[in-house]
Symmetry: C2
Subunit: 322 residues, 2 copies
Amino acid sequence: MAEFDLIEHIRARTRHARGDVLLGIGDDAALLQPAPGMQLVACTDTLNVGVHFPEHTAPAALGWKALAVNLSDLAAMGAEPAWALLALSLPAPDTAFVAELAAGFAQLAARHEVALIGGDTTRGPLSLTVTALGQIPPGAALLRSGARVGDAVLVTGTLGDAAAGLALAQGKLSGVVAADEAFLRRRLDQPEPRVAAGLALRGLATACIDISDGLLADLGHVCTASGVGAEIELGALPLSAALSATMTRAQAQALALSGGDEYELCFCVAPAQVEAALARVQAAGCMARVIGRIVATSGVRVIDAQQGRGFEPTRRGYEHFA
Amino acid sequence: MAEFDLIEHIRARTRHARGDVLLGIGDDAALLQPAPGMQLVACTDTLNVGVHFPEHTAPAALGWKALAVNLSDLAAMGAEPAWALLALSLPAPDTAFVAELAAGFAQLAARHEVALIGGDTTRGPLSLTVTALGQIPPGAALLRSGARVGDAVLVTGTLGDAAAGLALAQGKLSGVVAADEAFLRRRLDQPEPRVAAGLALRGLATACIDISDGLLADLGHVCTASGVGAEIELGALPLSAALSATMTRAQAQALALSGGDEYELCFCVAPAQVEAALARVQAAGCMARVIGRIVATSGVRVIDAQQGRGFEPTRRGYEHFA
């Protein structure tokens, strides 16, 4: 009865009481009571071994990250997360592995009051697919399509850290101070979805996206959806102290432009709203910074103001199957 | 840009207009308008290559089945399906494969007015995870936990066909008439989720489950959740003409008892409601049949009335990791 045993391990470790969960794990489907008048926000994202994470990643980090990447999508919509489902494929019924994975998932879920309401446990190469469901008042959702010429472009947090964390995990970066290494690897393994910042940007941001494929690629999606272009100021990219201490400024900027797996928010606001947006995001517990502006000419360009010229990045983002 | 190309293939082939989809594929998450006063029903199920289907299964069948197994879970709750998300892992960006898969998915989705509202396309061993969302009025959901001693146990359709279809696909069964083979393989590859039957059973069935692990295993889940037991009458198991023509009666009954992947509904009704349930399910376009009764003694027993004794099945159901 190993399958039911695994599900029980997951259920026991992810109990989170929400009054709107009428029936959680254990029947053919879950039964939920949406809040009256609210709209539903839904997304799903997969993490596959060897593609999204190396084979010996700590199971707690996997559980955390599989939920985090989905909560990040809800955050980019300005939605309040509520419920999640986890489809887990495992090569063998390793209960210790599943218990740790569930604990990592539960740690992040509890922080955002998300209830795990269902899932599936099957045999197969290690893979996690989470579906996250959130709620939002009508008209409040932050879309990719609302950016207007003249808007400021901002990002939360710092950029390039997760890419450096990956380089460390792959042994491509060495001689890094232990505390910096720990910071950068945590940024890769345990990203903090910017849920509070997304909520704070309701009614302010004209467009929003989370940075999963890299800043240039994701801002490019916003520009395409909005029918505009953008200019990014190279010197304005927010770099963490750990990243700056670990490599040259040019290397750090390159990672900040194209590194994936960041899960920071990139958003646009009208110029008159920049101060309000900065204050609200800060009140929500994270930093934001203006990094550029929306322009009429399509495409995303990087400007190096110090050199007084454009800058051509060598890599524009992460692309599956590329 | 192969990933976006694949998503576009899927989107183009699965367009289904629903007024309650405010934002479908293309942003960080989908935006939905739940019907006022309704409860939400959610489930997720994965199909992995080499585990749930052999490597060279037709992609259209995969797309159909990945949705079908989830709609079957909604059907078992008595829910009306509304929306679905598809997380697809592929070893390589094969656009023809994806187009066929999306077409198979769309064929079933259109039949049940389900909109594909989001998903993820990633690199990895072939795997499909669908999350299905449906709606139901408060108090109407069919649970596993409501069976009472004295209730009749019924099933929709016929049993054992998908197991025979699998035996055919694996070359373990031969000499079968072409029309019977086609029927049995279609029962495996393109199961019809009993959505209309589930809707028809609202207010009538005391408990309901879909048969994915096999009748004995799934009825066992109902008994455990309800704190009861069940007796099944061997001679009452509904067998298709194709199955009966293909093997001995004893072989067919063995498949009907323990064959997985059936996606018929097994449900319980009070004795006074049996006629009404049979009529309503028939009006919903499928057959149902009484196969046994709920008893106080825990466990599921099979009775061979012709032989006047109990019957011990050799295999009780499908278990991952067993």
